[in-house]
Symmetry: C2
Subunit: 342 residues, 2 copies
């Protein structure tokens, strides 16, 4: 059922039916009711391509995943962000498009999506420290918002981020307060902006406590089980192994914990592990567990906010770029056992 058929059925013009359905004021209430009911009854829904052609709006927003970063889509944080954005989109009648890009081709994908009028705007996820995509999007005039920031980018651009530096500083401080001195950092790839910031938080806390930075205890790789395992295993074989691990992802933390088991060490008593996005609900039971930071709900919230900023920008292009810094929800539990001196 399309507009024409519906209007013929009602003995009205397409115009009137369209107006009635879209809430224009000049339609009589009587007609509107008749139209709306007939539409529902005959299961009419407007063809979004035709609407898009006529209005010039796609009502779709694009997300692009670098294909090389296959782990990215598997990163739970990614899903949290997307879930948040999805919620805001549906409240505003937007749909979400998903595209992927081979390495280096991301700018092309954005351009293609926008030029073909598939999307009205895009969300840039996983920005690197040096991120040419931001300039590209700005130059192309594509409405966008960044999840995260890019430190090397000095022009204004809209972003939403959680305070990664603060999270890692606070968590590291917590470990230091517990008496740990050899604290390892199992980080993501440090050309990613978030990873660089996390390292900074870690370094800041170490410096503030006058603890030396040991390059052998600072590892950077993709955030996978395997990478976490290898790094932790090697570190635990050192003469003076670390007594604690700051880990950038719950996924790499799986590997880290396994390495600890394999080394015959006991979690919490011999070694503490803080993973960035581990679930924290345990702590509510007041149990003896290692400490953690939690940002899962913060990330979901970031998705909601980012979507709203982008939608505002699409509707009002001359708006100044909005930015929003979210504090990660940090929860720390008690450390168990005799502590780090072994």
């Amino acid at each position: 059922m399309n507009l024409k058929e519906l209007s013929e059925l009602l003995g009205l013009s397409q115009t009137t039916v369209s107006r009635a359905l879209n809430g224009y004021p000049e339609v009589s209430e009587k007609t509107r009711i008749r139209v709306v009911e007939a539409a529902r009854e005959h299961n009419y829904s407007p063809n979004s391509r035709a609407t898009g052609l006529a209005t010039g709006r796609a009502m779709v927003i694009g997300h692009v995943i670098p294909l090389s970063a296959r782990h990215e889509i598997v990163n739970p944080v990614f899903g949290d962000f997307v879930a948040g954005a999805l919620q805001t989109y549906s409240q505003n009648n937007y749909d979400m498009m998903f595209a992927h890009a081979v390495d280096g081709g991301e700018a092309e994908i954005y351009k293609s999506l926008y030029n073909r009028r598939v999307v009205d705007g895009v969300v840039l996820q996983g920005p690197k420290v040096v991120e040419p995509r931001i300039k590209a999007l700005r130059d192309l005039g594509i409405p966008f918002v960044v999840h995260g920031r890019s430190s090397a980018e000095h022009g204004p651009y809209p972003w939403v981020d959680v305070d990664n530096t603060r999270s890692f500083r606070r968590a590291t401080e917590f470990l230091i307060d517990l008496g740990h001195r050899r604290i390892a950092l199992i980080n993501g790839l440090e050309d990613m902006d978030f990873a660089m910031r996390r390292r900074k938080g870690y370094e800041d806390a170490m410096a503030a406590a006058n603890l030396p930075l040991n390059p052998d205890l600072m590892f950077t790789e993709e955030m996978t089980e395997v990478a976490g395992h290898h790094a932790a295993r090697d570190m635990l074989r050192m003469e003076t192994p670390p007594t604690a691990f700051m880990v950038s992802s719950m996924i790499s933390a799986i590997g880290v914990r396994r390495a600890i088991e394999e080394a015959g060490l006991k979690m919490a008593r011999d070694v503490s592990v803080i993973a960035h996005d581990d679930d924290l609900s345990y702590l509510k039971n007041g149990q003896d567990v290692p400490i953690f930071t939690a940002t899962r709900s913060s990330v979901r919230h970031a998705g909601e906010i980012a979507a709203q900023i982008l939608i505002d920008r699409i509707n009002n292009p001359q708006l100044a770029p909005q930015t929003r810094m979210l504090e990660a929800e940090i929860v720390v539990g008690r450390s168990t056992g005799p502590g780090p001196e072994r």
Copy 2:
């Protein structure tokens, strides 16, 4: 730059330009080259909404995530499947649409996406044992493919699945061979078809070994860290606790392992854990690690296949529903320590 402008620029009709760009044979090679070059030079890309309107095809496929199942999008397996599908889509010039649905509203979302001609077909993810969506999609005439199966659905429908029953049977057999007798099952929600099949695999193996099924060792919940932790913690407090855990997700396995640590037990020596989608690359180093099944790459492959089946179906609606069963890639490592008798 649109078709009209481009054709005026070239002194050709829109038709000829369109034909040149779409590879129709009746265009002279000379003209084609001239057109293609001008298009590239002026950065022309066809408006997909206009193309869609004219052709009746959206070149978009929809994926729907139940919002209630917020964990679903966070499940790594979900990402693997999507990544696989995305790859096939881009090879066939399809884009991927992402929608979400509040509980029970999934059929509406499918209908809406299809009626509005936003998508040409949809992928049904996370089918339940009883899955009304399949009948709904069939009745609506929407091209679709199911990732997984629905046991209560007896009519023909296209699906791609991994052999969950076999995976869990084999992994359970492996534990039994190692001498384990009290094997716990930490499963997902068993109204989900895959979870039901996994339980069946577990039960089959136990029955074949004449081992009793102990309801207290069979847990079913959402596959979260918290749920895994609670279940394992309670089981480990039993008089005769399990010596091994079969876990349905690497995420719940995090909770299970933590509960084991908290109980003062040593992984592998005291308790073995097999998690469904744990990464297995460890084993390649020939280390002493617990055993695992791996299906990560199988799931990605499932995504590729499912996408292809759907595309074929869209292009050829009278095709009989294709189905495809994939064998999960199963890898088992050596169990460490003195074994389960403690």
